[in-house]
Symmetry: C2
Subunit: 652 residues, 2 copies
């Protein structure tokens, strides 16, 4: 089957740019505030075939151009005949407005990743393709939304108008099943009922609409039409999405946990399309820090390599690096770590090889702002984010050095996979690790301080959580951090769900899964108790009124369907079910189900590369099976080999 | 008056990319075969105003975005009110498909070059504007073609169809004044009658056309409609152009010279629009080598700084440099020289300051391929062009070193204007000049050899012409070159009009204007004798049949309206009338009319910065006047000051 082809990375970069332009707020379009790369405008796509018989083929392009066969020019769209023997097929395509790409199909001649792509400046790479674009009727410049009808579950009169509730979050558009002729109405959207009813201040509103209006794709659960004619309107919602098969399942004896899994899944599916976004209403941008966490969730829910690759490529854009990713220094480094993590999941050496130069150029960009101790410092206009929290950001920050050490470690590992030289990075890493402990470890306080330059010796959870997770802390330091930082009430608590992810991950990693369980029930369970159908960007149990929807100074600024809200999927898969790769691409993997000490029973299926692992627990019996080799079940000190297709039953 | 604004250079880069995609050949679109830059996708345009009273303004954008006034967001298109005092107006605009740009107008608040533009990666520059886009109804993404009706001058039956002759070259489209209903025809275009009548092989053809067809803008003089219904068709042509005022005039006692001036003017006007193109039918691309010469013609015909700037910016694209300009090493260097030449003409320090970093990055790109002698060598895939001629291209070529020396000289001069440091380049230049003579000067042959590495000691006109024109040859060497190379029948003659320009320029520079005169009458006069209404890409008097239209292996591949065909304008203005700047921007200029020794009488007007110089000669009386100060009339050893507004009459 022929596939659409383009210069590799360009589909993702172009669509990523479009994605970062999608955001809308109260009638204003709000493009992301960073430098946006775009695809190449002009490319050559080519392959040589040695044909054993005469062959006819056709070429379709998006853009303008022509086909050259053995130096003879042909029009696109016409049937071209090749003689037996060597045939060099070159498709020249420029697209002044979008992605230049091509599709060709004959008997033998078929565009695909075995074609080459030339940027017209001497850089030739294997052509890019996507499983989403394999038909000549498609156009890789357009997203092929699948549509699903969502009926209205309740419809009631409010303030003289009508409120429609679709019972779930939708990304799509209203569709009127019955509409009074000649009437124009205002359609107010809401993630919450409160928002939809707030005609003045709701985030999305379509004025002067009628049954012919071409509504933009927007996120909503409620629609409110304030005009009295609304009574005569019947509406459904058309949910628009890119289907990504769900391969992870989980159910246990705790109904709340089951609902948390389901709502996490719903949340994550809604945030995943061509890319993994932060949220469906706000920002709809691709953020590296959010993606870093989402990749772990995605691993247990979808196991979809292309989704991860698309998101990584869109985030990274083109060389040269113009600024830190999303303007945030830490986000550049989290992206580098994400590349390594994606390799861990996929074992896809080809993709690693392709993206490696982009990793190096971004790493070098970071290293240009390091001092003689190897510490990364912020330059003017650099955003050293870490977290929304009261951190001591004077001078070089511990959190950034820990991230940098992790980055270097990741790059050293990637280099080893590809057989590339990375001595310089190893040397830097050794020195950096030494200096982190020398400058930031505070023996008296039993943890890493944020900054040594300020003299304040301020301890935060953030730096220490990263030090634990990214293995910068040694075992003794980890134990001390657990006691003196993570379990200390004297250290300011984490208040953002963004860092709550790292905290729960660290706690689970250090064997405190019961505590994690409690926190999941409390935090995510709390949202469910408030009627959440998707998980929110942030949840504060103290807020019960309209202030729940407020964020960043906007009454409806809070995203009620936010990808990082889905992190229970990761915690469940990684720790409760206990599945994780021990060699890239799950060539080898462990099943270390800590959940058996907490839950009475559970069963789950999780994707691994080319297969599925099934784990079920019904006290006292653990059953594990996998359709791929390489598995080991770990129970305490003991481990058991898992044979493909064979079910392992263990009594605990 | 408010102007449309954008990130500086982006309008030119984006439109230049579109221009390089315009080419068409026999139903195929043919984008240029080099790397194409495009504009930024996402920018911030801003200015602070201190208002003394309340002010209302509106913003229009091309793309998506919003307006932020003192941190408060507003919709584009709405009336925004500012209070007295400090007001920071920021327009955020992304354009996923084209040029992001904005227009704002209130009483005081008006977009213009006093606004700033941010690339969202920390590079802030003065906003770009164009005299062509000063109305809110315009869209800088579209070209505002002016249309002129061109009547058909003859219409005759040929081979059962009809041939329409418009008597002149047109860039535009057919317009049917009378058309038989329900009929579809084939419209064959031709620069020549032969081409239009060649239904199979003509360059442009519109099949299945009727009176509703939206014809593309194309170059033609003739149209042929082969169908018998053509008899019922009456057509005119709609010529589409960007008006650029002609400020240069010339007339003399030699009618042939007068016609050469007029046809040169016609040719050059047709090739000039947003940019100076090579030709109107083929390639319609922006070539640096062609532009280098065209800038000199433009100086005497239009004196239009913006046209030159647009062409320079479109050619150069964005940093980093991805490849040599138009893929040709010499064209990179000719571009650098063109920047200096444009400054010489305009004295526009602001533009020089803006473009200087692009000059340096391109120069550095060239210098990366130099050896220990300072010589530039070709790398694999580099195109060392010089000329279509039998040159000895082994190893480092003399012609390239001469160009490089000229480039370095130009950059040193530009740096001096801007008060920038350029010692390194001066040092390189000294060394390079020394080495050129040491390695390439052949005392025995009395000229520079093409290559010293081959051992062939091959002498060509090309290297020596550049050595003379770019002042690499000293006076003694120049004299020797004139005798032993330029006037030697043993050295292969120049065969391309591209290098004929350099040859005539060098001859004129060395006082051989009479010879130049003869060659102009012979070469350009020859084309007139063949019925040319515009000057051709190439002219060989020996060709008289259909082979005249052939080039590059294509029966109609020769461009019959080619910018470099207009070089008599330069030769006339520069040498016959003798006008040239001696300080940047014609702050000081000379009038050294060598034409008085050749022509009985002539009179001409030529543009200088902010003014016009009038020169007329009627044996024995020379009359010169200028409306700007700084002029000096030079006659042999004597010179006379020219006062603004005062006519200087001299008896010779």
């Amino acid at each position: 089957m022929a596939e659409w082809i383009w210069y590799p990375g360009d589909f993702e970069i172009h669509q990523g740019m479009l994605q970062n332009c999608v955001r809308e707020e109260r009638g204003m379009r709000w493009p992301a505030y960073w430098y946006m790369d775009d695809c190449l405008r002009n490319v050559r796509l080519f392959r040589e075939y040695v044909l054993t018989q005469e062959e006819r083929f056709q070429v379709k392009i998006c853009g303008i151009g022509y086909v050259r066969v053995n130096d003879e020019k042909h029009r696109c769209g016409e049937t071209i005949t090749c003689m037996p023997g060597r045939n060099l097929i070159e498709i020249f395509v420029a697209n002044p407005e979008g992605l230049p790409c091509a599709w060709a199909e004959g008997t033998v001649i078929r565009t695909g990743s075995d074609w080459s792509a030339d940027d017209m400046a001497g850089h030739i790479e294997a052509a890019g393709t996507s499983g989403l674009y394999q038909s000549p009727e498609q156009d890789p410049n357009r997203i092929n939304w699948q549509e699903e009808r969502v009926p209205c579950v309740s419809r009631r009169k409010v303030n003289g108008g009508c409120l429609f509730d679709f019972g779930r979050a939708v990304t799509g558009r209203p569709h009127f099943l019955q509409y009074p002729s000649g009437v124009r109405v205002t359609v107010c959207y809401g993630e919450s009922e409160t928002e939809a009813l707030d005609v003045e201040r709701c985030y999305y509103k379509e004025e002067n609409a009628d049954e012919h209006t071409d509504f933009r794709r927007r996120a909503f659960r409620y629609l409110y039409i304030p005009e009295k004619e609304a009574e005569q309107i019947e509406a459904e919602a058309l949910h628009q999405f890119i289907p990504i098969p769900v391969r992870g399942t989980f159910a246990c004896n705790d109904e709340k946990m089951n609902r948390i899994w389901k709502v996490s899944m719903e949340t994550f599916r809604l945030c995943s399309g061509l890319f993994i976004l932060d949220g469906i209403k706000r920002d709809q941008w691709i953020w590296s820090g959010d993606a870093y966490q989402s990749f772990f969730v995605s691993r247990y829910l979808f196991g979809d390599e292309e989704l991860v690759q698309r998101t990584l490529l869109a985030l990274r854009g083109k060389d040269p690096v113009r600024q830190h990713m999303n303007t945030i220094v830490d986000y550049s480094m989290l992206w580098i770590a994400s590349v390594k993590n994606s390799y861990e999941m996929s074992g896809n050496r080809e993709f690693l090889d392709f993206i490696y130069p982009k990793v190096i150029s971004l790493l070098e960009y970071c290293l240009r702002q390091t001092n003689e101790s190897g510490f990364l410092y912020g330059r003017e206009d650099d955003w050293i984010f870490v977290d929304w929290a009261d951190l001591d950001k004077e001078g070089c920050m511990c959190a950034e050095q820990v991230l940098l050490a992790h980055c270097l470690q990741c790059v050293v590992e990637c280099a080893a996979v590809l057989g590339k030289e990375a001595c310089g990075y190893e040397e830097r890493l050794r020195k950096l690790r030494r200096n982190i402990t020398e400058y930031f470890w505070d023996e008296e306080k039993g943890g890493f301080i944020d900054s040594y330059e300020s003299g304040k010796r301020h301890i935060s959870r953030q730096s220490n959580l990263w030090a634990v997770l990214f293995d910068v802390a040694d075992e003794a330091q980890k134990a001390s951090i657990l006691k003196n930082v993570i379990c200390s009430d004297a250290v300011a608590p984490i208040t953002t769900p963004y860092f709550k992810y790292y905290e729960l991950d660290a706690l689970a990693k250090m064997g405190r899964l019961k505590e994690v369980y409690g926190k999941i029930l409390e935090y995510w369970g709390g949202m469910l108790d408030m009627g959440a159908v998707t998980f929110w960007e942030e949840y504060d149990p103290a807020q019960t009124g309209e202030e729940r929807y407020e964020m960043y100074g906007d009454p409806y600024g809070k995203s009620l369907c936010h990808a990082w809200g889905a992190s229970p999927i990761y915690l469940i898969g990684r720790y409760f079910a206990g599945l994780y790769p021990t060699k890239p691409g799950y060539q080898e993997f462990a099943v270390q189900p800590e959940g058996i000490h907490i839950l009475e029973r559970f069963s789950g299926e999780f994707p691994v590369k080319n297969g599925t692992v099934r784990i079920s627990w019904e006290k006292p019996c653990l059953t594990v099976s996998a359709d791929v080799p390489g598995g080991t079940v770990i129970l305490g000190e003991k481990s058991y080999s898992l044979l493909p297709g064979k079910t392992l039953k263990l009594e605990v």
